[in-house]
Amino acid sequence: MSDAALNLHRSAGRPARPFRRPTEEAAPARIVLIAVAVGGLMLLVGAPLVIVFVEALARGWAAAVASLQSRDAMAAIRLTLLITAIAVPMNAVFGIAAAWFITKFDFRGKAFLITLIDLPFSVSPVVAGLCIVLLFGANSAMGAWLVANGFPIVFAVPGIVLATVFVTFPFVARELIPVMIEQGRSEEEAALTLGASGWRVFLTVTLPNIRWALLYGTLLCTARAMGEFGAVAVVSGKIRGQTATMPITIEMFYNEYLSVAAFSMAALLTGFALFTLMLKTVLELRHADQLAATRRH
């Protein structure tokens, strides 16, 4: 076809509309979608977040800080940090082990195991807590023996750790499994043929390849572990100053109309969660180039 014919064809068409990519929506639809998304986010996430801090500071900064320095509040903060510090490393190790097992080996019942890992997501935390009470409580044979030997699990720190580990178990494993499936086994095999021992392969090849997924999983796990309420409420017995974690203390304060104390602690807990999210974002920004380099070739 000649140029003249092409030009003719073009000028005969309707006036040119501004170019729009086929995957893009028209302006009105776009505005509505964005408004719905932003509005929903503000209403469901933004507003409660603001309210927590507003209520905490209702009687000023000093009152909020003072309420956090009470004996019970300090005990709750210490307990939550302790539980998190135990539960998160445990779940990181469990998660790596489970993901490793599932992705690097072929065996019967694999699908069942993956479902089992997801179980804590589908079972109500309260039910999980009850199971722990039934299994380890003073009424069971094992529980009675443990109590008699000075190692009570229910209504004590070990029970809270167990409940928290159970509820947050899937986070690390679920982050790792897709990444490890996608990466396959060939890099590990290559390292083995180069003479590296199994442990060295894990440290120098497997771990660096999954580090971002591991970090995400661990941060999510941390945030969830600090905030766990249902299962812990059942197993802890809510003993003030001893087994009351931060979420449980918040509920206690709130029920006692100590709203500044309740919201101050809620604000602190929110702060911890925001901190983990910020940490994740900062790490992402800082290692953006590495992140790009370690994606698929």
Binding site: E187, E189, T193, G195, V205, T294, R296, H297
Partner: protein, 239 residues
């Protein structure tokens, strides 16, 4: 190194990947395992490299039984199908990996490792890419880096799984010659897997045609062309 494969078979659960096969690979030979997918050629290669263990049969290296030798102790330079370069390491670190993984007693010094890596980068004619990451390389460059990484451990043999499979036709031709040159220079016994009969015939001293987990014919390219042993070989090499 002379490789003797003695009645080796491999089953994965209920499926037989390899019926008992025997094969003698003379020291310093360049051998092609040629066959369609599912013919058992990659399984045979992995058995040689120690990445799989046979269900029955033996492997002998220079007359010594190597069947139970671990993958680390085999010292086989292995080039994987998609190269399996360590994506979080630079090219330099990739090539140095095998040397750094050695036990302290036999590990070269830092300066020696650097010297050897630079020498290998020269050998693959990519002297300036040491600081790059695998994702920043072309397919042909990756293949050559994988080759250098495998050579760095001073292997006793070189095993390559479809080394040219992921490359476009022009690069493939160039790298064929590259592999031939490196083989001639190092004198390593080399086994490579391919489904491309031109590649096998052009490059190898000895071609092993495989199908359905069995060896159909072993011979020099010219002999196989002149006298295909079975109907399968005849149709496969003229396809």
């Amino acid at each position: 190194m002379h490789i003797q494969i003695d009645e080796i078979a491999k089953e994965f659960g209920a499926t037989t990947a390899l019926h008992p096969v025997s094969l003698s690979i003379p020291s310093g030979a360049l051998v092609a395992l040629l066959g369609p997918s599912g013919s058992g050629k990659t399984t045979l290669l992995r058995l040689l490299g120690g990445l799989e263990f046979p269900s029955s049969g033996r492997v002998l290296f220079n007359g010594q039984d190597a069947t139970g030798l671990t993958v680390q102790d085999r010292r086989a330079g292995f080039v994987f199908q998609s190269y399996a370069l360590f994506r979080h390491m630079t090219v330099f670190e990739n090539i140095a990996y095998g040397l750094r993984a050695r036990p302290r007693a036999t590990r070269p010094t830092k300066a020696e490792i650097e010297r050897r890596v630079l020498k290998l980068l020269d050998l693959i004619q990519l002297p300036h890419i040491g600081a790059r990451y695998p994702s920043q390389l072309s397919g042909g460059q990756r293949q050559r880096v994988a080759l250098a990484r495998a050579l760095a451990i001073e292997p006793r043999m070189l095993l390559l799984d479809e080394p040219f499979g992921a490359l476009d036709a022009k690069v493939r031709k160039e790298l064929r010659q590259g592999l031939r040159d490196i083989h001639d220079e190092t004198g390593l016994t080399t086994v490579f897997v391919t489904h491309d009969q031109d590649e096998a015939m052009e490059l190898a001293d000895l071609v092993v045609v495989m199908s359905m987990g069995r060896i159909e014919q072993i011979g020099k390219p010219a002999d196989i062309r002149a006298k295909p042993a079975t109907e399968f070989v005849r149709t496969f090499i003229t396809a």
